[in-house]
Symmetry: C2
Subunit: 232 residues, 2 copies
């Protein structure tokens, strides 16, 4: 059974669960795979830790992992991009396979037929500073591009976490459009708050935006050996 180490943030986890249910072809409850979801909202801020100003979130994440193991999870997904800075450290603490959100995004880029072009990144400053995307995407031939105004992206993410989704979405829309204008054929929404905010601002999430939350949900369904409903 899939174990979801969530709560980073809680509404992003709800969005991930919705995408997981949406991607499953089902006519009745019993057609859906089971899942166990921990809303571990007390995990310290990931970006603050990476930038050097906050407590280490690893102990709380490891404690969450132990709860999921105790309840019978057999594989793990983490619907928070920045938390993947600790992916290797968490994987070293469990025998359960932990899916990697950047690999799910790489698979989605390839599935879209995007080859070798620059990829824009809308992400937390923690994700950018930790270099989570560039190294893994480079293995697949993609170069990553940061937005013109990263402070605006970070401001938007904090607004989204405080519930001001539409205001956050407007800030993000400007940065997404800037990345597209500079030649990014794909822009990854590489923080799980971002698709929520863009949706609230009325921005369509179609091509060339790639939602990392949805990519991870599809990777989870793939790992469950359940057929995945085709994207609209």
């Amino acid at each position: 059974m899939l174990g979801i180490l969530g709560g980073m943030g809680p509404m992003a986890t709800v969005d991930f669960m919705r995408k997981l249910v949406d991607a499953t072809p089902a006519m009745r409850d019993q057609d859906h795979p089971g899942a166990l979801v921990l809303q571990a909202c007390d995990i310290p801020d990931r970006t603050r830790a990476i930038l050097g100003g906050g407590p280490d979130p690893l102990p709380a994440m490891a404690a969450g992992l132990r709860r999921l193991e105790a309840a019978g999870a057999t594989r793990i997904a983490i619907p928070c991009n920045t938390a993947h800075h600790w992916h290797a450290a968490l994987q070293a603490r469990t025998a359960l396979p932990i899916l990697h959100i950047v690999e799910a995004v790489a698979d989605a880029l390839i599935a879209r037929g995007y080859r070798g072009g620059p990829v824009g990144l809308l992400a937390t400053s923690g994700t950018l500073t930790a270099g989570l995307y560039p190294e893994r995407l480079a293995r697949h031939g993609f170069a990553c591009v940061a937005p013109e105004d990263q402070d605006a992206v970070m401001r938007a993410i904090r607004l989204a976490k405080a519930g001001a989704m539409a205001e956050a979405g407007l800030l993000l829309r400007t940065q997404a459009r800037g990345l597209i204008a500079t030649g990014c054929g794909q822009v990854v929404l590489a923080c799980t708050e971002i698709p929520l905010a863009l949706a609230a601002s009325g921005e369509s999430l179609g091509d060339p935006l790639l939602d990392a939350t949805e990519a991870l949900a599809r990777a989870c369904i793939g790992a469950c050996d359940t057929p995945v409903r085709r994207a609209a």
Copy 2:
């Protein structure tokens, strides 16, 4: 920590979690209470069991409860009205308090200032046959009224579980309006699929509709001693 015995159905559980997050006043992830959610989608159909045609869901629900206990839950909520037919049987199997959705609805009716009038019920045929609402609401002075065409309600619930939300919502709208026309000052959406379907059909969920999912979410936040955001 709140443990949620969910998956009945999975999208209704996602809706419940969204309402739980929405009802929490929070400026950052760490302001939210933790929760542990089991998407136990393999629990047999509750209505079929009550109507005599299907396997007993109690063993699977009890197994889910044990998983939540193992992971450290300290109280339980079940975002499925029909499953409350087994509330006493489940409560007898655990020392953890299990909130009761009908008590949450009674509290919400009283909080709205509704006194003594008839209450319409949009619910599964299992919930109606089991008499889940009438006895408990009678203690608070409310008489329950079933809709004119219960078969249409049941058809709508099956459509919603198969993802045909808007079509389901249209059927439910007719039955809700019928209940209001016969003098029900409040109509309880007493199946967790129903608010999803009505929202998809464009029906406003304002007064006189009362969403049992939201009532349970607010009862959970109240039980966590966290202040509850006022309804819009």
